[in-house]
Symmetry: C2
Subunit: 281 residues, 2 copies
């Protein structure tokens, strides 16, 4: 199966393919995962954990999971689930800018209390102090904050613009955080896609000098660009690691490379080729 | 300065060297960091964040920071601080087994409530259910749990054996979690150590095919074993990464290797050679 890049129209084709049994994503409603999954048409179903998204993958469903944030790095729960669960593949990628706004259904002049998640408060705390003297109240998610601000007098939420819109709030202030905070999501399913811009794979190597070097040589020989490499604990064996790697190009283009990787690794798990179908404007 | 391995005796030498102005560690008292730092003699000072430990490093102080857990992977805040702060080096490593016990100053038969941190509850939940029907109460740390259990009737704590001892609790049950959960800590200071079992360095490479391969070739040529490699977001430049690497051997042994790395990287930061001075028995 191939997922050609044709912009947003393409998204509805993908999800129609899997509908009507749902696209599972990490909730709650108003989360950044919800914002990303909203680019896809079809029934969206929030679940409570990333592992639960993986649990729900079947012949007629797909999932959307966060995989990496530009400031915080990889989402370990996603990498570990992709590595350990055979038969689940990466089909597409979506990027969402993690922007925070101050939102309320009242004017800034009457706001006394601001709700938000501790991480968001940490990021935007300096700018909030410049705006006035507020009581800052920590809640479990920025979407919960938006929900509270929508029903309480004199209260605002520090949340995403998406959550603000979802709860009918007006934007009081934008640009409360530094730019360059982007989260990447993967669309995952039980179908392997072999064409696309990038390919995702996992491998393990023996703990001897040159193991990783021998793997990277296979890419170097063919002038293939390794875009990302992460090592993660193997868990079943202490201080041993598996590697997550993304390279530029598709499985269809580089079948001999993948065959050669099998000779220089203990194990290779090819998780599919994908194209980025949504990026921040 | 060299830190030869002479077992626990050596620890007091190290800390006497830096005393009396303190060894800073991630609190609160009873934390796994506290357990690790207790292997060192001298004044120990708990602080609230890993970054604060780094803030406190001066000519007469040292710090102790968690760097990696065998199940969860690297501690990003430690890697980011080590990478961005020049003049702070790694001098030694300590490993602590993260074991959980059920502890109280009463018999199991009268326990109605168990306090613990959500992560610990998730890890040990299955075993706790086998032990009986308890009210499980989440608190912010396992050491806080031990403190509460020490003053409340009918209450126990799911905590480390170290925290249980600190608060004078009896161990009701051991082995509540799977084995192989070990956290590594680094002793850091503003002194570079050039001898030891392993060397820590950071580097950045251009985003072109073969960059990482060219770096690993320098190790391969000399049959030097790369023990760990992690990539982390560079933050100042989106989707760009820095690499954390540990190799077997010391700076003293491999000075020409380090000189050659400068030719194949954009930047190299050598953070010192270290020896593991405490491991789980």
């Amino acid at each position: 199966m191939s997922f050609p890049k044709v912009g947003k129209l393409y998204l509805s084709e993908v999800s129609n393919y899997f509908d009507p049994h749902g696209i599972y994503y990490l909730g709650p409603e108003g989360s950044f995962s919800h914002q990303a999954v909203s680019a896809l048409s079809g029934l969206k179903v929030p679940v409570k954990t990333i592992s639960e998204v993986f649990d729900k993958i079947s012949n007629s469903t797909m999932g959307l999971v966060p995989v990496e944030n530009s400031l915080e790095g990889p989402v370990n729960e996603t990498l570990d689930n992709l590595f350990t669960r055979d038969g689940i593949y990466v089909n597409a990628s979506l990027e969402i800018e993690v922007n925070l706004v101050l939102a309320a259904n009242q004017d800034l002049s009457v706001i006394k209390r601001i709700y938000s998640h501790p991480h968001a408060i940490a990021e935007a705390g300096k700018r909030l102090k410049e705006l006035g003297d507020f009581e800052i109240v920590q809640v479990e998610s920025t979407s919960k904050a938006a929900k509270l601000a929508s029903v309480e007098v004199n209260a605002a939420a520090l949340c995403s613009e998406f959550a603000a819109r979802l709860y009918g709030l007006n934007i009081l202030e934008r640009n409360l955080t530094d730019r360059g905070n982007v989260t990447r999501f993967f669309v995952v399913s039980n179908r392997l896609t072999t064409s696309g811009e990038r390919t995702v794979l996992f491998f393990t190597v023996p703990d001897v000098p040159g193991s990783l070097y021998n793997v990277l040589r296979e890419f170097y020989k063919r002038r293939v660009n390794v875009k990302m490499i992460y090592s993660r604990p193997l868990r079943r064996l202490i201080w041993n690691y598996y590697f997550y790697l993304e390279f530029e190009g598709s499985i269809d283009e580089f079948t001999p490379l993948i065959d050669d990787l099998k000779k220089v690794t203990q194990e290779v798990k090819v998780k599919g080729s994908y194209t980025t179908i949504l990026s921040p404007s």
